[in-house]
Amino acid sequence: MDLPTTEKPGSRSPGPVAPPKAPTHAMPPLSLSARVPDADAPPPVPEEPRRPLATRFPKRSSGRTADLIFRLATGACAAAVAGLIVVAIVFMVRGSIPAFKDHGLGAILSPEWDPTNQKYGALTFLFGTAYTSLIGMMIALPLGVLTAVALVEILPHSLSKVISLAVELLAAIPSVLLGLWGIFTLVPLVRSFEVSIYKSPLGLKNIPIFSGSPMGVGFLAAGLLLAIMALPFILSVTREVLLQVPVSQREAAYALGATRWQAIYNYILPYSWKGIFGAGLLGLARVLGETMAVTMVIGNTPQIKASLFASGYTLASVIANEFTEAPSILAISALISLGLILLVVSILLNAAARLMLIYLGRGSSSPREAK
């Protein structure tokens, strides 16, 4: 962390002391041997105003010019990366201004979406995004945490390495391919599950979340796919967090005669629940903006239903489906404003999760180093 501060004095002092060399062009391929005498040069005679670099570097060693150029160039790259967030916010806000001017912020909370008749309520999409994310997280979070516990605490090292590699590969699979798999494998499975609920003699279909006709596509299928997508993120962060729990914590638990599960449940998990919360936030941020897979299995019907089996629509999928077919500039602007919602929520969630994990990393690193 302290790298950049320590190297600067070293880089400055030897250069200017050397006798002025013949001015070379901007970026010569400076060989090592050519510069070695500089380092051996007599100790710095305070040859006064050395600071104003800009006035001196043309005559002096060409490394200066090249260094400055290099520094500016890489700095520009870094500024471009940081500026991307600002550019994103500015353009998304600018793009949604026509929509906000036309129907105001409040109109977003109406359930009616009908661009051909200038109705731009987004409530059904907000609901769809929230509901599918909730389903996804309710599956992925326990699954991810339990798997992480198994990997870190129970399974032998070699096997847990294989499993975590497999789950990380899952993260590399593009969402459109998971959607393809969803259409042809997951949806039929979900449908047969729904049919069995529908036909069950216990009357399960009267429970609100199981009501409706079994179609396969809908909130449940989308939620399952989202769970699969969030799992790698939750698992890898939780695993890191569990690995950070100091060994002394475990030793203390076992010394008190705890069984392995008691050590996990009473000592290890409580130590890391904040990190697990951060993992959940990260997973949620991924899930909210997920587009392709959800679009392929959710049914794309703007409606608000509590049933897991009903089809729905999410913010991201309405953008994906309707953007190129938007009937007017206003409709495009309304879709961009939905994108703005996604942008703001994902920035906030990611920032919160990262801050939390950074804070934790700082807090828990000390016992680990003491070990």
Partner: protein, 283 residues
């Protein structure tokens, strides 16, 4: 006392069993996915997929030549812009910026990498498509470059941090200018890691579909003009997957297999490079 002892032992066994079941469930999706992909994909993978253009539904044959070439073009353009800028930013973070600025930049990259890809597509639409008045391969590349940039920066920066500080000091002691130290010593020492980061970021954007919908837009004909609409492989898989035709479904699986072989191959290759590099460092 004794009963409590038995109880907690049994509870422990049960809960450990639950954790193991969870681990099995966690790997299940990958294996069922790969199983279906290989079962469906290999039968539809054929030579004509690489050489033919898409056919209307119902006609036999047809391939994805335009989409494969389109993907290469769009991803290639994005890479040409994204990787140098990303590496430059990472060098700035490790070699020039103070700790505060470096961690602020890192934070910005973390946040950026979490922005949904469809939002990046909307951004590229507004920055490139609107001024140009039509969809184009370039706009798709811009969206992909936005997506890959934070990934490149994060992976490169982590690899540059791993280079021992003594190498930098040695360079300064020899009086080598900083730019030479960064480019010839630090970057070279970290080269395998940086290469890994490049491969990972390329494989991440190769499968992006959402931003392609309203930037590259798709094109049933062969086009290699960066200024005109173009088809990409993931986008075409999407179109074929949601179509009602069995022929197209088969082609979609074939394309999917191609894409996965590329991405998984690249991921495994990058892991191998890293593993090999670390082994050679240790010996």
């Amino acid at each position: 006392m004794n009963r409590g002892h038995v109880y907690r032992k049994i509870l422990g066994r049960i809960m450990e069993g639950v954790c193991l079941v969870a681990a099995v469930i966690a790997v299940l999706p990958l294996f069922t996915f790969l199983w279906h992909l290989f079962a469906q994909g290999f039968s539809s993978l054929s030579f004509s997929m690489f050489t033919q253009l898409p056919m209307p539904p119902g006609e036999l044959g047809g391939g994805m030549k335009n989409a494969i070439l389109g993907s290469v073009l769009v991803v290639g353009l994005a890479t040409v812009v994204g990787i140098p800028v990303g590496i430059g930013a990472a060098i700035f973070m490790t070699e020039f910026a103070g700790p505060t600025i470096a961690s602020a930049l890192r934070f910005a990259c973390d946040v950026l990498s979490g922005i949904p890809s469809i939002v990046m597509g909307l951004l590229a639409y507004q920055i490139v498509v609107v001024p140009m008045h039509h969809f184009s391969a370039v706009s798709g590349s811009v969206a992909l470059a936005f997506i890959m940039l934070p990934v490149v920066v994060i992976t490169t920066q982590e690899m540059l941090y791993l280079v021992p500080h003594s190498l930098r000091e040695a360079g300064h002691a020899l009086g080598i200018p900083t730019w030479r130290i960064a480019s010839s010593i630090i970057l070279r020492a970290a080269a395998p890691g940086v290469l890994t980061g490049m491969i990972l970021s390329v494989s991440r954007i190769a499968g992006e579909t959402a931003p392609m919908l309203f930037t590259a837009f798709g094109n049933p004909y062969l086009s290699l003009d960066p200024k005109s609409p173009i088809s990409t492989l993931p986008h075409m898989i999407f179109n074929y997957a949601i179509s009602p035709y069995d022929d197209w479904h088969r082609l979609a699986w074939g394309g999917a297999l191609l894409l996965v072989l590329g991405i998984l191959g690249a991921t495994l290759l990058s892991r191998f490079i890293l593993w090999w590099h670390q082994r050679s460092l240790n010996t």
